[in-house]
Amino acid sequence: MSNITKKVSWSSRGDELGPVGEGTPLLNGSEQPRHSRQFSEGGSLFQIDRLSTVDLEEEISAEEESARGQPKEIPHNSKLLSLKYESLDYDNSENQLFLEEERRMSFTGFRCLEISRWLICGLIGVLTGLIACFIDIVVEKVARYKYEAIKQNIERFTEVGGLSISLILWAVLNFSFVMVGSILVAFFEPVAAGSGIPQIKCYLNGVKIPRVVRLKTLVIKVCGVICSVIGGLAVGKEGPMIHSGAVVAAGVSQGRSTTLKKDLMIFEYFRRDTEKRDFVSAGAAAGVSAAFGAPVGGVLFSLEEGASFWNQMLTWRIFFASMISTFTLNFFLSISHNNTGDLSNPGLINFGRFESENLNYNLYEIPLFIAMGAIGGVLGALFNFLNYWLTIFRIRYVHRPCLQVMEAMLVAAVTASVSFTMIYFSNDCQPLDSEHAEEYPLQLFCADGEYNSMATTFFNTPEKSVRSLFHNQPGTYNPLTLGLFTITYFFLACWTYGLAVSAGVFIPSLLIGAAWGRLCGIWLASLASAGSIWADPGKYALIGAAAQLGGIVRMTLSLTVILVEATGNVTYGLPIMLVLLTAKIVGDYFQEGLYDIHIKLQSVPFLHWEAPATSHWLTTREVMSSPVTCLNRIEKVGTIVDVLSNTSTNHNGFPVVVQVSENDEPSKLCGLILRSQLIVLLKHKVFVELAGSRLTRRKLQLKDFRDAYPRFPPIQSIHVSQDERECLMDLTEFMNPTPYTVTQETSLPRVFKLFRALGLRHLVVIDDANRVRVLNLYKSKVFSRKLKIVTMILFRWLDW
């Protein structure tokens, strides 16, 4: 019953509110005046997911408010969509210019394009690998200085007393590194915060996140991640690699940098969203592959996140980019480790090799693995739940950059002091072992020749801790140490994710999982009769890590392959798959994946795989925006400028129509033109009158559109004189004469599929000749002027 109520509440809004505007809540990002143009204009966004999640009471109040015509202010929540985000134009505008250019191109021309695609993919791989290598080396070197300094300090003060000074030293060191990273992110490029995987997911899904693939973002991301890892936060550097790869791809494929104002005049053909998207998916794959040494996993990651746009050749190219990237990283790391040519460092995180005899698994262990998967799902859901509320709190109250920096610094200081306290009070001492040399063994109060085993987990970069949890001998950690470590690290990681620092969640998840997995292994080994070696703690640590990571991020196929490739042991494929499967099923029962939560909280209009299950009763008519703003094929410049600057029609695409007759008859659709195209036309003053007067003037070419891409100027920056306003503009050449259309009665899931599969931004709704009678019914109301109507659905994009 409740479900039905919800449905009614959703659709009934439309009935009562009418064309004044009815309420899908929109987010206004007023904190960023730069975007005020977009915010003040009345585009609309619509989130399909709301259909099932909307709450009746809330909707009613929203309606009351909007009926009074006042914009309502509400606290941020996860059911809003932001005006900040626009759709990418994946659908190629096949106008006459484009067709002419394609026709002019010879067969060799296409071959050259294909070759340059491969070249770009190779470049993407090399550059991504180099960035990964740079991050790795810098983190390693600086972290060494930091830990050596603290270690010496601790050693000195263990003897003479005054360990609280070491604690403060540690906290201050962490604090300062994190401060640098966080200032960079919060003040210069907020979009570089977090792991960047949600943003890339959105980009591949078709949402243009402002500034997400700029060079500046890349620089801040790289510096930020170095600072936060060295700052000892519970973070990893793997997620940001994926973002970095994507930025590299978006930059390289364009052959120019708008930030640096450099144009190499190459790869101009690729300056549009469709081509760029393909390269960005290659870049994301290269990033994954550099981060985990998992080229196949990288390809599958791109497949999983951007699968609606996929073909064989693209897959092969992406695989090429991935391979090149992991090879480059490998090669340069071998140089930095002084054994050039040794290609055994495939990724930033190296799980080490699982090859020992004890690490085989048996059939009877499968149920145990599945149970661990379920635990991982529950813990992951808990993690996501806590992080969800924390993020809401942060968005509502901790939104000023200086507050964000302070918060990050506090987290760094607390992380240091918690770690120190844990190490200080730990009684778990283990003998130094020359084979598994700990990098920074801390003796503290242990007997001489022994080291504090709590310190191997806390007093180290997280990657190293993961590896020691996987590979140290059974008995290296006692259960109490592991239990305490799991609990503290769980909360620290949960608290850290979402701060204004660049940092990934992969490694902390793996670390939490490895700790409790190892705990499970120890427990199982103690259950089994003495002398039995089947429950090797390292193996269970791996399974636990997989379960925890799966429970938090809920990736499936790509994560399985990434983990299998990172362990370098194919036989673990089955248990890892089962574990991830269970973790996802159990976790989804409680809460969504972390990345999805953050996408929602950022109010991104993200399209999922399928239309919501309860949406079949909706038709296009109910979700399309109406009345539509149309342009005539030959339109007065003044009208165009007015339409573009009208704040209430912040559309990005306009149907072009021809009047069939002079009377009230509806006009006929003849094409679709984009806002960006109109702006370029206005800028170049392509007016009918001028064309006649100045014959020598060269014709506008596709190149002019490409040069303006991707940062089209806003309409306000274009000056049109009074005289020019009277001129006419012929849109025939530039509009897309064959836009996709649907009829009004098309069901929502069907429309959804079109949007998702074709990456559409606009879909024109036309009426159906067969149903004239029905349409007549509304003739007096909505479609008063048209019968052959042109209407667009603004589906999820604010602007359309």
Binding site: L17, I74, F393, I395, A413, V414, K781
Partner: protein, 301 residues
């Protein structure tokens, strides 16, 4: 006993039978892989050695002259055997406390020498290489295996790091360390009776000196030094309980709880004082339609 064990036994059994059959028929087979004249695959027993040690078995007749081993080689072999047993005799008593390097280095040196003589390429008086006849004639390769065991042991104990080259003697660093060690141990002995706090105080300087000396030495050390140091450390930390006490719990707790307290203040104050960020709602234009409600009501009914 597992199934695998049974299988192994069976396999050995089969192999034994085969070997036996080959023995019997070996001489008559002059073609085929097993009995190439240069490296015969069959086990051979030098008859003269047998004469030395036990009564000759009646089944074992001696081999023809050209397959016999020269006296030169037999001599080398007996030298090897002598030195081998000497070395082992030295090793075993040095197992605990570990002194395998400092006590038995000379034994290893002469053993190595004997082995080198056997394995070198040079031809003996009768123009034959003892390496081939002694080491490569059978699949057991006893001489080689025995020696490589000892070599492994030597390498594992890193003895090269405390013995001078050519096995002349213990090197200076190690001697120095051992001297310091003895000082420390005698100090321990002196104060061992009664209260250990006395010991901790009085022997601290010599123990610390030893500890520093140890850590200043090269990264890889021979097992003797390593073991001696380990034992001393265990004595010091476990038996005499002279480790650092955990002295400043209060200070550490105070500082860290202060740190933990900061975020609470931060969040509270930002909750109370920071202005909550509100979002403005903007409504998309949608078609005003009475039909949808009707449709839904139709569907519901």
């Amino acid at each position: 006993m597992s199934l695998r064990g049974n299988c192994l036994i069976f396999v050995f059994f089969v192999i034994n039978i085969c070997a036996f059959v080959n023995c019997d028929e070996g001489t008559s087979l002059d073609s085929g892989d097993q009995v190439r004249p240069d490296s015969p695959g069959l086990p051979r027993v030098p008859s003269s050695l047998l004469v030395d040690s036990f009564v000759p078995l009646s089944l074992m007749s001696s081999f023809p002259e050209d397959l016999e081993i020269s006296n030169h080689c037999l001599e080398l072999l007996s030298i090897f055997s002598q030195r081998y047993s000497d070395y082992v005799k030295c090793l075993v008593p040095a197992a605990r406390p570990v002194r395998v390097c400092t006590k038995c280095y000379s034994g290893y040196g002469s053993l190595l020498n004997a082995y080198m003589n056997i394995s070198s390429d040079q031809m003996g008086p009768s123009n034959e290489s003892c390496r081939d006849s002694l080491m490569r004639s059978d699949r057991l390769m006893l001489v080689y295996v025995l020696f490589s065991n000892m070599q492994d042991l030597w390498e594992k104990s890193n003895c090269d790091f405390c013995i001078t080259e050519k096995f002349q003697g213990v090197n200076n660093e190690t001697t120095h360390f051992m001297k310091n060690l003895n000082q420390t141990l005698s100090c321990f002995e002196k104060y061992q009776q009664g209260n250990h706090t006395e010991l901790c105080k009085n022997c601290k300087s010599s123990y610390k000196g030893l500890n520093e000396l140890y850590s200043s030495m090269e990264k890889t050390l021979c097992i003797d030094v390593e073991d001696a140091m380990n034992m001393t450390r265990i004595l010091w930390s476990k038996n005499f309980n002279c480790s650092m006490p955990r002295g400043e719990t209060v200070a550490v707790i105070a500082v860290s709880s202060f740190m933990l307290f900061l975020p609470i203040i931060f969040y509270l104050s930002s909750f109370l004082h920071s202005e909550q960020k509100k979002r403005k709602l903007i409504h998309p234009k949608r078609m005003k339609s009475y039909s949808s409600l009707m449709n839904i009501q139709d569907k519901r009914s």
